[in-house]
Subunit: 352 residues, 2 copies
């Protein structure tokens, strides 16, 4: 299929975003947050919630979204559940601690008698899950499913007047959104596959304080003063652009590409405005097209890199190349992918 080495192939992707998009006017009405402030300082236009922001009623669990995205990704790849050798799911917000959402998703897809893995992760989760998939394929498996997603239902209070909140709490209401996305991965190319030419996954947080903390409670509260939510937005704003630049150069080096050979950049997606600043700082040639979704979807956490990839596949022609760049800022992980669209099953064949 190709003379170049691939770590694995992506045979199909899909996304699942719950309900109708919630725009800034609606957000402003429900939570009392200034629409102008969101436009000016965040730059995210809409997001989806798996719960009714007026009443709090949960309409979509993480398993709902993951099973939907996974089923569609299988269809996009032209594979059946029976073709899968494993499932890897990443999330920061599982439906329950046990059973895992990975196993709940496997059950809904009709999977059985295969290994399943759930990766607990922040924004880098999709790449970490793809890294596990890469290793599983290298160790002899043929095909697997990678699913990633997050839901905000347990951290945003429906119908609350958020205008009185401190900015570091308020920011959660305007930055995040719910969603899941999935990719079918294969050792050998399958269909209009994308080859993964490079994968970066590296913890870089030694001695560094967390940029983000997300806590959880059980039935008792042994530490009543424990911090449940914390977002050091200033440090994140400072650090992420530089880390994104380092990731681009590491991926180029691994794939042995020049910046001029990159057709698409899938940048980190904290917010609409931050994405603009990050992309501007990367110094990629003007012809390199940006694939972003954060202005429409909000920051969907684990789902986001696969949502971008799902969009990118609509545009990538055979031979075109993309870099996906992801920064995990809770304890600082550098992650990313170097991707190349293949020509399809027939030589010089049917590009998408």
């Amino acid at each position: 299929m190709t003379a170049r080495t691939a770590l694995m192939h992506i045979a199909g992707t899909a996304s699942a975003l719950p309900a109708e998009p919630v725009d800034n006017a609606a957000l402003s009405d429900i939570f009392g947050i200034s629409e102008g402030w969101i436009d000016l300082f965040v730059g995210t236009r809409t997001r989806h919630f798996g719960w009714d922001p007026a009443t709090g009623k949960v309409t979509h669990t993480l398993a709902d979204l993951c099973a939907e995205a996974a089923g569609r990704a299988l269809a996009a790849a032209g594979l059946a559940a029976a073709d899968l050798d494993f499932l890897v799911l990443s999330t920061a917000t599982p439906d329950t601690l046990l059973p895992t959402t990975a196993n709940e998703t496997a059950d809904r897809l009709g999977l059985n008698h295969l290994p399943t893995y759930q990766i607990q992760a922040g924004c880098s989760g999709a790449v970490q899950a793809l890294d596990v998939a890469r290793a599983l394929l290298a160790s002899g498996h043929h095909a697997g499913l990678v699913v990633a997603g997050d839901v905000t239902a347990r951290f945003l209070q429906a119908g609350q007047d958020a205008s009185a909140l401190a900015t570091q709490e308020l920011i959660n209401y305007v930055l995040f959104g719910d969603g899941a996305a999935a990719a079918v991965v294969t050792a050998e190319p399958h269909g209009d596959a994308v080859a993964v030419r490079g994968l970066l996954h590296r913890f870089a947080g030694r001695g560094r304080p967390p940029g983000q903390i997300v806590g959880w409670r059980g039935v008792t509260e042994p530490e009543p003063d424990r911090q449940m939510l914390f977002e050091d937005y200033k440090t994140i704003e400072e650090e992420v652009p530089a880390l994104a630049g380092e990731i681009v150069w590491e991926l180029l080096s691994t794939a042995d590409w020049t910046p001029q050979q990159v057709d698409f950049i899938l940048p980190p997606q904290l917010s609409g405005l931050m994405t603009e600043r990050i992309v501007a700082g990367l110094g990629l040639p003007p012809g390199c097209r940006e694939v972003s979704c954060v202005r429409d979807t909000g920051n969907t956490g684990n789902a986001l890199p696969l949502l971008q990839l799902d969009r990118a596949l609509d545009s990538m022609a055979p031979g075109e190349r993309a870099l996906s760049v992801v920064v995990e800022s809770s304890k600082w992980i550098k992650a990313g992918l170097a991707l190349e669209r293949l020509a399809g099953p027939e030589e010089g064949g049917r590009g998408r």
Copy 2:
């Protein structure tokens, strides 16, 4: 080193159990649970808690226990943090959703610039983490750290009179304990290594209701009636012995061993009494020695298979073989290991 194929090698193990053991008399005093009932129906004598059962004050976080076990496992293997290519940590009860306890543990060990993975899992977590490690080693890494542990602090109410609780809640107070354990894994044998000859990790929960549910809460409560803790102890008692038998036979088949060639059995450890019943039902030859820790440690969840392995290594002579059998009953995973002690670095060398 050996003519037989190994999936990977275990170069060193260690355990970390917090504070002094809490015996049934103390448990009876603090929670008002009948000591005789615990002896008769559970059969667990002591357990450790990372919190003071009288006051609830947390004395050991999961990261505390994981970093302690990991540091000791490195020392046991004669390796340094700088020798490690990756870290995999499994737990059902991370300290926070973000940052991950894997990254907090990595930071404490002085690790940086390596991939870290946190597996969300029930009782099978240690084997699932070893499975990820196996794939990572197969894909080119040389050495890594596997850590597994759980803490009960957010599910057991300190100083509460538990005698009024329904049995399915009360059981949590007498079954579980806190702890962590770690294993250093290598592609090539290192020191007095154990070779992993077989590894089973298979989701088997399609269409089956959960045997256990462990919930979590965020800062809001969108589903006030959501079940936070559920343990279908009757189903678990019925199902686990049969599943344990299936696991033994699958592992024997993978490793190409007869039951007569197994020197040690490391059985599932829900409680002291259940372990007795399970082992009795496996039909292994009378010479096969049981390695259990549940009567002293309680069910420590993710830590437990590695706690057993850590004990087994004190007894296994070169050439001796062990089966580790693990059942995850929250959504039914069959897991286990076929292990063989090697002769050590010199031919016919220094057995432990």
